[in-house]
Symmetry: C2
């Protein structure tokens, strides 16, 4: 692995564990086992490490989701898998990252918003439209409104003021919100398919 | 009506129409047709008018909701009516009010949070628990998580960054989110009851 790649990997792992704001260039140098001088050969400042890390993170995440969707047999499986993907990703990240992004790293935050409001929104819209066409999802729903609320809702689970971590289990929140979202759009036919899918997942 | 009551009514109507921040003591005096000196006989400053207005607003709103719930025949009707009540209330208020509250009037904002996180949360929890007991709502749901998300979701419709007013119709957002929320918790038996209720509402 190149030194630049090494530095980014080290920084990313520190950021995900401890948030963006609290990590210093010294922390990164120590973690990677290089001098700060070496780091500055590749990155002008911490801002640029944060941006590059966030950018790479969402590019990887996007590729992962594309792959998962390519391998989905129907829109219910696709909804399930895209949510599982996002859950795993969120679980791996310290909740302060989102707060730090919003507050201190506007350029990297913009990258996150783009991922969320363009890539995820487009994919979920496509999944739901397919699901309506297949008779799995109710045709009465306004896809755009529900996709937006689902994306925002997924972030709610993150919010320590709304769901304090000492009181709620993140996994439980995620599962409840996903299951509720899906039941809210499923037709009878869709419900059968979903239960069948859950049983298969369970047996697998 | 007493002068104090007159001032409060005038201030409330200005606040609801234009938000809290932009309204001055002069505006209120003009609206009510009294001098500023008269206003200061009853209220020490604008802060205190804001707090009193917000306090009264939520006390009235609470009484209204209690009455509506007393007259509901079952938990589906109760959910429908509590949502309709909140929709009407939200529609009557300029969306900047919530923003102004959060930003500039912490004491009055606390009053709003109390209304939302204590009164509304308690009532909705009770309705859902009753609905589960009656077989209208799915027993697999985690009531607390879903009540919290429903309350937060209702505020989402307010958010101009998430649902820009020039693009979305507030009524449509509200109806979609309510209908989706309910479908997400309804059993088959509950769905029948809900459709029956909607038909009756429609005929009424």
């Amino acid at each position: 692995m190149s030194t630049e790649k090494n530095i980014l990997e080290g920084a990313k792992s520190l950021f995900m564990q401890f948030g963006l704001k609290s990590i210093t260039m010294d922390d990164i140098a120590r973690k990677v086992g290089v001098s700060k001088k070496t780091i500055y050969q590749f990155f002008s400042d911490k801002n640029s490490i944060v941006f590059k890390s966030v950018h790479e993170h969402f590019s990887d995440h996007r590729n992962e989701i594309e792959k998962v969707l390519d391998n989905s047999k129907n829109s219910i499986e696709a909804m399930y898998k895209i949510s599982k993907c996002m859950k795993l990703q969120v679980e791996a990240v310290n909740p302060t990252v989102l707060y730090d992004l919003q507050r201190y790293f506007p350029k990297a935050h913009k990258r996150f918003l783009e991922f969320k409001n363009t890539f995820i929104k487009d994919r979920m819209t496509k999944i739901i439209e397919d699901g309506i066409a297949s008779g799995f999802f109710r045709k009465e729903i306004n896809t755009e409104i529900l996709v937006i609320q689902r994306i925002e809702q997924a972030q709610l689970a993150f919010n320590n003021e709304i769901f304090p971590r000492d009181k709620f289990d993140f996994k439980e929140i995620h599962e409840q919100l996903f299951d509720h979202f899906l039941h809210g759009i499923l037709t009878e036919k869709g419900k059968e398919k979903y239960n069948q899918y859950l049983n298969e997942e369970h047996d697998a």
